[in-house]
């Protein structure tokens, strides 16, 4: 049944393409219908799911002569991310309800992206996974390049090329794995069983891992993320940070680490205190955590702050993956979910609630608008989302980062401490952005728009901002609700995620994959 998440999305694309031109209202309704149905299907799948099992959704021969199968399946990890995709999709549409410019195309690209993402999370055939992975690239480009803002074409092209280069690396790894195994199959489960030669894994692992991790924002390949996020329209930033970055992290876990676990083992000799690819990646992710946070601290553009914060938070995911213990891995998966929700919320506030009303994201300009009074709903939402993003307990991010840190304590104690530094800097940049954007000293409550700001917004000084609309409120409440729900009752997801690591796919975890 879960396969319908994919079909419904692409069906939505078709319907949108057939709609008469210039009918924005029906376009968004169609998109909404499709996204909500997808979410409902995902939810239904989630609640039917028995923890620990691997549900085969579809398994048909596709290119029989090459052993390629149309194989959709789901374990707890996929399911969590499918659920995230559903939520992010609905949220994104709610926050792009006001799109009038080429709305039909916008939602068509949007749903195509969503469909691709669902597909990646559900594919258990690597060829199929790769197909969906690449399907997701193109809509991103168009959404950003057509509906984006600041340096949109540059950001879109950068994102597309980075993604494509990453997927090229993955493709090399996949082809090599297929050929070396000689098993004429792309089935993850089969390939995970195949004992690839150690030397082969040693180079194939970093190739595939980094290929995926580029999309997950691994430092120093993260530079697409801030520019891309900033250039993208709100819904796309939400999806980029919310689910697309997860595609990369998911690929790292599902493909690179599952098929080439020996690639994590120690090298013969250490270089600069690094003894394996695992050390290298852990180091890069911790650099990402701290560097992303520090850079976010000095940004002048509100959205860049959030963009770099994504890099920092995704560092936790990668660090969690590199801990190679169940708690760290489950933390990483939970962090994927949590960051998807929280980053989506932050981008919604910055991109939709603030930017579309003030037409500026310069923190120094926003400071003069006293938005805390002018749009209290946005301020409250941002305070809550900011608190969640800082990793305050009670929100999903805390439970996730907590597990990652426990895992890190076990394997990389120093990195755990450095990650703590990253959290503190995270608090600092969030506070800074929050204060500048919402609690700036105002020119007076009667004039929410100062002269300069009014000029930017193209309206009269003193004109009030449009009130926060109902879809925006709905979206914000939904995302906050999820973040709090998971924060207070993480069992909802953990009970599904944790048993997944007992499956044969993760045998290497118990064999102690790497010393």
């Amino acid at each position: 049944m879960l396969a319908w998440t994919i079909y419904i999305s692409f069906l939505g694309v078709l319907v949108l393409m057939l709609l008469p031109k210039g009918n924005a209202s029906s376009a968004r309704k169609v998109a909404m219908l499709s996204a909500v149905t997808g979410l409902l299907v995902a939810l239904a799948g989630f609640f039917q799911f028995k923890a620990g099992e691997l549900v085969t959704v579809a398994k048909l021969p596709w290119v029989p002569s090459l052993g390629i199968e149309y194989h959709l399946a789901a374990d707890g990890i996929s399911l969590t991310l499918v659920l995230l995709t559903g939520l992010a999709a609905v949220g994104g549409i709610l926050f792009s309800w006001n799109i009038e410019h080429r709305a039909k195309e916008f939602f068509a690209f949007y749903l195509a992206l969503i469909g691709g993402v669902y597909g990646v999370f559900l594919s258990f055939d690597l060829f199929l996974l790769f197909v969906f992975y690449e399907i997701a690239i193109v809509p991103k480009y168009f959404i950003i390049a057509i509906w984006g803002s600041t340096r949109k074409e540059y950001g879109a092209m950068k994102l597309a090329l980075y993604s494509f280069i990453g997927s090229a690396m993955v493709l090399v790894g996949l082809i090599a794995a297929y050929v070396v195994s000689g098993a004429r199959t792309f089935n993850v489960v089969e390939l995970a069983k195949y004992p690839f030669p150690h030397d082969f894994q040693m180079w194939a692992f970093p190739l595939v891992f980094v290929g995926f991790a580029i999309l997950a924002g691994l430092w120093p390949f993260h530079t697409w993320a801030p520019t891309g996020h900033v250039a993208a329209p709100t819904a796309a930033s939400m999806l980029l940070a919310g689910v697309v970055m997860k595609l990369g992290a998911y690929g790292c876990l599902r493909v690179a680490m599952t098929i080439f676990p020996q690639g994590l083992e120690n090298w013969q000799l250490g270089v600069l205190g690094l003894h394996s690819w695992r050390d290298v990646i852990a180091l890069l992710s911790i650099i990402g955590i701290v560097y992303g946070a520090l850079v976010a601290l000095v940004q002048k553009d509100f959205k860049f702050v959030i963009g770099y914060s994504s890099v920092s938070h995704m560092g936790f995911v990668l660090l969690g993956l590199m801990t190679l213990n169940t708690i760290g891995l489950s933390g990483a998966v939970l962090q994927m979910f949590s960051h998807g929700i929280i980053a989506g919320l932050l981008f919604a506030v910055v991109g939709r609630m603030v930017y579309e009303r003030t037409h500026t994201r310069e923190l120094s300009v926003l400071e003069g608008m006293n938005l805390g009074k002018a749009m209290p709903f946005a301020a409250v939402t941002f305070v809550i989302a900011g608190a969640a993003s800082m990793g305050l307990p009670g929100f999903s991010g805390f439970v996730a980062e907590l597990q990652v840190l426990i895992g890190a304590w076990q394997t990389y104690p120093t990195f755990a401490v450095l990650a703590g530094v990253g959290i503190v800097v995270g608090v600092a940049y969030t506070l800074r952005a929050m204060q500048k954007a919402f609690f700036g000293e105002s020119v007076g409550p009667s004039a929410p728009l100062g002269a300069k700001a009014a000029k930017l917004a193209g309206s009269e000084p003193g004109a009030p901002f449009a009130t926060i609309s109902v879809p925006e409120r709905l979206g914000a409440v939904m995302l906050i609700g999820v973040a709090v729900l998971i924060g207070l009752y993480p069992r909802l997801l953990l009970d599904v995620i944790l048993p997944s690591f007992d499956s044969p796919l993760f045998d290497w975890l118990r064999k102690g994959g790497a010393p």
């Binding site: 708690i327 489950s330 805390g372 305070v383 608190a387 800082m390 305050l392 307990p393 009670g394 805390f398 439970v399 907590l402 597990q403 840190l405 426990i406 304590w409 076990q410 104690p413 120093t414 755990a416 401490v417 703590g420 959290i423 503190v424 608090v427 600092a428 506070l431 800074r432 204060q435 609690f439 009752y489 993480p490 069992r491 953990l494 009970d495 944790l498």
Partner: protein
């Protein structure tokens, strides 16, 4: 123990109240609702105090439920004498603070809701016994506090609030990391670790914690003991910032000075107690060995805190800042007591008795300081209101002549803070010093300097503000109104009652303290 989940209700009530109040359109309505909720909480806390079986020093009103089994997280709340005392203090200070918040006109519903949220956070912190939700409340009380300072504070509120938040967060993150390490060390293969304070205390008492840390955590070839000390350092940092212990105090004067006065009451009255509470509930039972090991430097820090904050208070010219530093000073005594008991006390005649005295003193001092400091800030608030924002030490003079009631009542509070016998401040300090002298003679002796300087500071304040020639500017200064008098009479009365009849509290806390002393093995 099953039954009515009274402690959960205690925490949830202000939370619900806050949610209700934030949606109210009207200032007056919000205010009366918030007050109503805070009085309900007070009634509930008094009820708890009443039903608490004092003779049994252990945990009561316990609620326990599985929460996140994979992380060893249980919903586990309960209070003993210590927790109950703190709950009561919170329940008393919050309505007082709300009562003097009448002048908050801007975004009043939000203000009142935030105070109620803060109260919920405090109740949660003082009743939670599992790290997970204890930390949740610990951190979440920070957000309303931050916003209250940030949005309703004085001119320098932005840097002050940021400093406050970041300092506390640094401490919290260090503490979080430390607890995660403990969790990891105590986890069995394939199972979850321990987040339960009581359980951890038992482990530590058995001496099982350090070996576990050594076995599970290899870090730079440190020995188990050294690792445990690093972990201890992390937790210590968290609490030291909150109390604060010098040199982690720099956020405090600015924050207290910039916060609106009712919020300062909350900050000093209750939030600063969170740190001391943490020392008693967490550090002492879980890290006895480390505290003992590091006792001398820690005592030195406590003494430094006491003496330097007193001297710093002397150098201040802003009434709020003076009181802020004197707050640090008073909490320094608490820490002195806490650190002093961390010894086997082999050369002391009756170590258990002295330890019990010191800890009883610490608890009393926490309560008393909460009450007195909150009252003093309340008075400063009245004064500030009358003077139009002026609160310099030298801005006034001779106002005793025009506002005798004000000066009389504030004088009582000041003397309580100074530790005049017959008032509540005396009992706590006396018990602390009684216990500490035999246990840590030198530190106690040095700390007396702090008492002296504080006395000078407070007397100077009395003299500069109340006595001397009347500053003509204030010849029209109105005295306390009837409502204000009615308001301040309550805490003043409490000061007398507790000063003359400390058993009222001692009877409740003593069994807990005795148990605590028994459990502490050095």
């Amino acid at each position: 123990m099953s039954g009515f989940p009274i402690l959960s209700v205690l925490t949830l009530l202000p939370l619900l109240g806050g949610i209700m109040v934030v949606g109210l359109p009207d200032r007056k309505l919000a205010r009366s609702f918030a007050l109503g909720f805070s009085f309900l909480s007070l009634a509930q806390a008094l009820g708890l105090w009443h039903t608490f079986k004092a003779a049994n020093g252990g945990l009561q009103f316990v609620e326990r439920a599985d929460w996140i089994p994979s992380l060893g997280v249980q919903y586990f709340v309960g209070v003993d004498g210590l927790g109950l005392l703190m709950v009561l203090l919170t329940a008393i200070v919050v309505p007082l603070s709300l009562l003097v918040s009448g002048r908050v006109s801007e975004r009043a519903p939000l203000y009142h809701a935030l105070v109620l949220f803060l109260q919920a956070g405090l109740f949660g912190t003082f009743t939670a016994l599992n790290f997970f939700h204890w930390f949740l409340f610990w951190e979440l009380s920070l957000i309303p506090a931050f916003l209250l300072v940030r949005l309703w504070g004085g001119p320098q509120r932005a840097p002050a609030a940021t400093q406050f938040f970041i300092y506390t967060m640094v401490g919290s993150v260090a503490m979080l990391l430390a607890f995660l390490a403990i969790f990891l060390a105590t986890s069995k293969p394939g199972g979850a670790g321990v987040f339960d304070f009581i359980e951890l205390g038992k482990l530590a008492a058995r001496g099982a914690l350090n070996p576990a840390l050594a076995a599970k955590l290899g870090w730079f070839e440190l020995t188990g003991r050294q690792i445990a000390s690093v972990i201890f350092g992390g937790v210590l940092l968290g609490f030291a910032v909150k109390v604060p212990l010098m040199p982690f105090h720099t956020w405090l004067p600015a924050t207290y000075a910039e916060a609106p006065t009712p919020v300062t009451m909350l900050l000093t009255g209750v939030m600063s107690k969170m740190g001391v509470y943490g020392f008693l509930r967490i550090l002492l039972p879980i890290f006895p060995e480390q505290i003992q090991w590091l006792r001398t430097p820690l005592l030195a820090l406590a003494v430094v805190t006491i003496v330097f904050s007193a001297c710093a208070a002397f150098a201040q010219r802003d009434l709020k800042r003076i009181l802020a530093y004197s707050s640090i000073n008073h909490l320094g005594y608490c820490l002195l007591g806490v650190f002093a008991v961390a010894t086997a006390g082999a050369n002391v005649l009756a170590p258990a008795v002295e330890k019990a005295a010191a800890l009883n003193g610490v608890l009393l001092q926490m309560f008393n300081h909460g009450l007195t400091a909150a009252t003093l800030f309340m008075f400063v608030g009245f004064l500030e209101h009358r003077s139009g924002g002026l609160r310099g030490l030298n801005d006034f003079g001779g106002i005793r002549k025009v506002a005798p009631v004000f000066c009389g009542l504030m004088g009582i509070a000041l003397f309580s803070s100074l530790g005049l016998p017959g008032l509540n401040g005396f009992v706590g300090e006396f018990l602390i010093f009684k216990g500490v002298f035999p246990l840590a003679m030198c530190s106690a002796a040095l700390s007396v300097i702090g008492i002296l300087v504080t006395a000078i500071v407070i007397l100077t304040m009395l003299q500069r503000v109340f006595n001397g020639p009347l500053n003509e500017k204030w010849s029209k200064l109105p005295d306390l109104t009837l409502a204000e008098r009615a308001l301040v009479v309550i805490p003043i009365a409490l000061m007398f009652v507790l000063g003359l009849w400390p058993r009222l509290i001692l009877d409740v806390i003593n069994p807990t303290v005795v148990q605590m002393v028994e459990q502490l093995k050095f």
